[in-house]
């Protein structure tokens, strides 16, 4: 035991020394008090101190760090702002945590070409701020947009509340530049509408930092709609609200945003931000229309008619921009609000076909009773993307265990109804076991082969996103759901 500790200590010093040969001392952290802030990302239930943290400031430094790690066989975990919810940036105890936090510059905003070239550490919201003087904005708006970075958005293919109309990260990124683990430069996509060869950009977006490291991103900017209004519709029954969503789309309307919250969620939010939600309603829908004033007026009237016919008991339409933002403030603050009514919460991210919503919500309600845990629901209804939030206390190990079982059952239900275990948060370490439910061994094997085409020694973010077949066999046999790794010694990549 003591020998292992001293071996790993000497390895740490060896790697740190090699990094300091070309990085300033402040950019190489290895003392515990310095590496502690990097021990987890937004999925705080999982923690691991990295062996070394590297904080490069230039592309050349990134290239050299990767080359060095490849030659020393040190695994590398890239990290943006650390807001990810699936543990994609969870460090490795024998690896380098590569923080891209210092890549914070907006390099170019080109209003004529409607694009921005930014470094990966630029915050999502900062892109829209930089584009605003030109009447343009960057559309994907994950709820963490004030903190999360575009590099992390690319890694996770992040969504937001306006995806149905404006798409995910993959639809709004034109080009990325970066380096392979061997330090070779790579440019995927283009400012032109497409690039020659296979669409590797599509493959790169959402690859959870496992294929290469991104050092520059070109995003599409859209003209800011002239105006937007939102309807808050109240329903006395959750299923009716779900049906109303389908009715709106069947009527040929693609709302700019279409969100649903159930009563436990609206009550939690209302105490926190005072968004003006209808607390008597079993569920509320937020339906946004944007465009020219004439278009919005027309669409709001059509949505009101559909919602009324679908059984909405009350409708409130935002009268001005302040009220619109207030209606949205509650939705965007849903996670922190829930964080205030419970010591901990566990956020899920399954996507289902919209028509199965009622069934899945009933299933979740039954699980609340089965596990004795509360679970408010917020839901990107237009996209079929559910975020049930299980409330628990992490200090109670038994409750954490119940939470993980609850979550695993929900995700497996999502797969069973034709959906997916993750809509926008990524697999990371969190949902790696459920990947065994969603994919067959042949498919997982192909994912591994794809990774090896980019990273032959599996050094980039190993152990995330794609389980080994051995792990799935273990998972299936042991029926260990969610959470804690039963056999951390199993090979993973």
């Amino acid at each position: 035991m003591g020998e292992t500790v001293s071996l790993s200590l000497s390895r740490r010093h060896e790697v740190a020394r090699a990094l300091r040969a070309f990085l300033p001392a402040r950019a190489v952290l290895f003392e515990e008090e310095d590496t502690r802030p990097y021990e987890c990302d937004g999925l705080t239930a999982y923690r691991q101190l990295p062996m070394v943290v590297a904080l490069p400031e230039t592309e050349e430094q990134v290239r050299r760090i990767l080359q060095l790690c490849a030659s020393m066989r040190v695994p590398v975990v890239p990290r943006g702002a650390g807001t990810g919810l699936s543990g994609g940036a969870l460090p490795l105890g024998d690896g380098v945590l590569l923080s891209m936090a210092k890549f914070m510059r907006v390099l170019r905003v080109d209003p004529r070409a409607r694009l921005a070239v930014v470094q990966p550490g630029v915050r999502n919201a900062a892109i829209s701020e930089a584009a605003a003087p030109h009447g343009l904005y960057y559309a994907p708006d994950p709820s963490s947009q004030i903190a999360c970075t575009i590099g992390g958005n690319v890694a996770e293919n992040s969504g937001g509340v306006h995806c149905l109309k404006y798409g995910l990260t993959v639809h709004n990124v034109l080009r990325v530049r970066g380096y392979t683990i061997d330090g070779e430069p790579l440019e995927l996509g283009a400012e032109a509408p497409d690039a020659p060869g296979l669409d590797l950009l599509a493959l790169a977006v959402g690859s959870e930092g496992m294929l290469f490291v991104v050092t520059e991103v070109t995003v599409k900017l859209l003209p800011k709609p002239q105006c937007a209004r939102v309807i808050m519709a109240s329903f006395d029954d959750v299923e009716k609200a779900g049906d109303a969503v389908a009715e709106i789309i069947a009527a040929g309307i693609i709302p700019a945003g279409l969100e649903m919250m159930d009563r436990p969620a609206t009550r939690a939010v209302e105490q926190f931000v005072g968004a003006g939600y209808d607390l008597e309603a079993a569920a509320i829908l937020l339906c946004e229309s944007d465009g020219t004033p004439a278009e919005v007026e027309d669409e709001i009237a059509r949505m009101e008619a559909v919602l009324t016919a679908a059984g909405a008991v009350r409708l409130a339409v935002s009268r001005d921009e302040a009220e619109r933002l207030r209606f949205w403030s509650g939705r965007k603050a849903a996670f922190p609000a829930v964080g205030r009514i419970s010591p901990d919460y566990y956020c899920m991210d399954g996507t289902i076909p919209r028509k199965r919503l009622g069934e899945v919500l009933h299933f979740i309600a039954a699980l609340e009773k089965k596990y004795g845990l509360r679970c408010p629901n917020v839901f990107h209804a237009g996209d079929g993307n559910l975020h049930p939030l299980i409330l628990f206390d992490a200090n109670n190990a038994e409750e954490l265990h119940r939470t993980e079982q609850f979550a695993a059952e929900v995700l497996e239900k999502c797969v069973a109804v034709g959906g997916t275990i993750t809509g926008e948060h990524g697999v990371g370490v969190e949902k790696i076991n459920q990947m065994c439910t969603q994919f067959r061994p042949d498919e997982l094997e192909l994912f591994h082969a794809v990774k090896l085409a980019f990273d032959a020694r599996a050094l980039l973010n190993p152990g995330k996103a794609v389980p080994t077949l051995a792990r799935c066999a273990e998972y299936g046999r042991m029926h260990v759901h969610g959470g804690a790794l039963p056999h951390p010694e199993l090979p993973r990549f």
Partner: protein, 344 residues
């Protein structure tokens, strides 16, 4: 299909994947035994309120568009048919039509695929939901892969409502003025759904709610064209007079703001200037160099002589990645070998 692939893999015999044959002209010449996907056809599932349609590879594209039209929906990327196109061929070619700059490209609407890889294994990626980040996004990678990674057996696509109102406007202007106008207007909140410039005339199509089209038209000016739909169909299907004749047709993709390309021959511009069709007998090297200087790339789209290569060559790192992916999906190298690049 799986049996045919397994047998071909065992014999290392190349297979030529083909649907309706409408795009036999595209890419490097096909070779190998024929694998015809047309027997595997039919719409599997279509739920208008889910905005998702799933169909088998051999389903005629026309049948899919008909089914969508009956429910007031459409394929927003307006893929060309070029004849009796099938869904599988449409996805494998990855071509998008006039609405691409406004609505997105074909790959943006791919939600999931069932794919038979080069070992004859039926694999499933993505799904039938709008958001799905489980595993690598193989279904979008397969779009436009020209059958080099697998046989697309079935696909699920996101579909959208057809715009209730459309109007086509014509503006007389030269190419620099048209490029300027297209890029400026694309940066404003206007419902422009297609653009095309050719021989001194810029055409724009407005699509959206009646109110939006009504409001935008007077702001833009120009003159209304009576049969706009016919014009956009002719551009999409390349039946427009520009596309006739024997001269090689180049498809040049550049940043939309790139200056006019100084190349001999006639040009037709689409996608706010991002796509420049060129009829020219100029040398491939000259055309590729001009495209590269402008920040883009050139594809020899239609030509009798393709000896200069169809697609812009890849740099060594990208080529290595392509080869690695090819051997991951098709270790025996039997699926449409050489159709995209001679190297795989």
């Amino acid at each position: 299909m799986q049996d045919q692939i397994r047998s071909a893999a065992a014999r290392a015999a190349p297979l030529r994947l083909r649907g309706g044959g409408s795009k036999d002209f595209y890419g490097n010449p096909p070779r190998g035994e024929l694998l015809d996907t047309r027997g595997y056809a039919g719409i599997v599932d279509y739920e208008p309120s889910e905005l998702v349609l799933s169909a088998r590879a051999g389903t005629p594209l026309a049948e899919i568009e008909q089914a969508l039209a009956e429910r007031g929906q459409c394929l927003p990327f307006e893929p060309p048919h070029f004849g009796e196109a099938t869904l599988g061929g449409c996805l494998a070619a990855g071509l998008s039509g006039p609405r691409r700059a406004a609505a997105g490209a074909l790959r943006d609407f791919v939600l999931g695929v069932k794919l038979v890889d080069g070992r004859g294994r039926m694999l499933e990626f993505g799904g039938r939901v709008m958001k799905n980040v489980a595993g690598y996004d193989v279904s979008r990678l397969v779009a436009g892969s020209l059958g080099t990674l697998g046989v697309i057996a079935e696909a699920s696509l996101k579909v959208l409502p057809r715009p209730p109102a459309e109007r086509t406007l014509r503006f007389d202007m030269d190419q620099p003025a048209a490029l300027d106008a297209m890029n400026v207007w694309a940066g404003e909140p206007l419902p422009i759904s297609a653009s095309a410039w050719h021989e001194g005339a810029l055409h724009l199509r407005l699509s959206g709610s009646a109110a939006a089209v009504q409001a935008a038209a007077p702001r833009l000016g120009g003159t209304e064209v009576a049969d706009g739909a016919a014009l956009w169909r002719a551009i999409r299907e390349q039946t427009h007079a520009f596309f006739g004749g024997e001269e090689p047709l180049w498809r040049i993709a550049v940043p939309s703001t790139a200056a006019p390309l100084a190349l001999s021959g006639a040009q037709l511009l689409e996608w706010n200037g991002g796509l420049r069709w060129l009829r020219s007998s100029a040398g491939a090297q000259e055309i590729r160099a001009a495209a590269k200087r402008a920040g883009g790339h050139a594809t020899l789209f239609r030509a009798r002589d393709k000896s200069s290569g169809v697609f812009t060559p890849l740099d060594p790192v990208l080529l290595r990645l392509h080869r690695g992916l090819k051997s991951a999906f098709d270790p025996a190298g039997i699926l449409n070998p050489g159709r995209m690049y001679a190297e795989f």
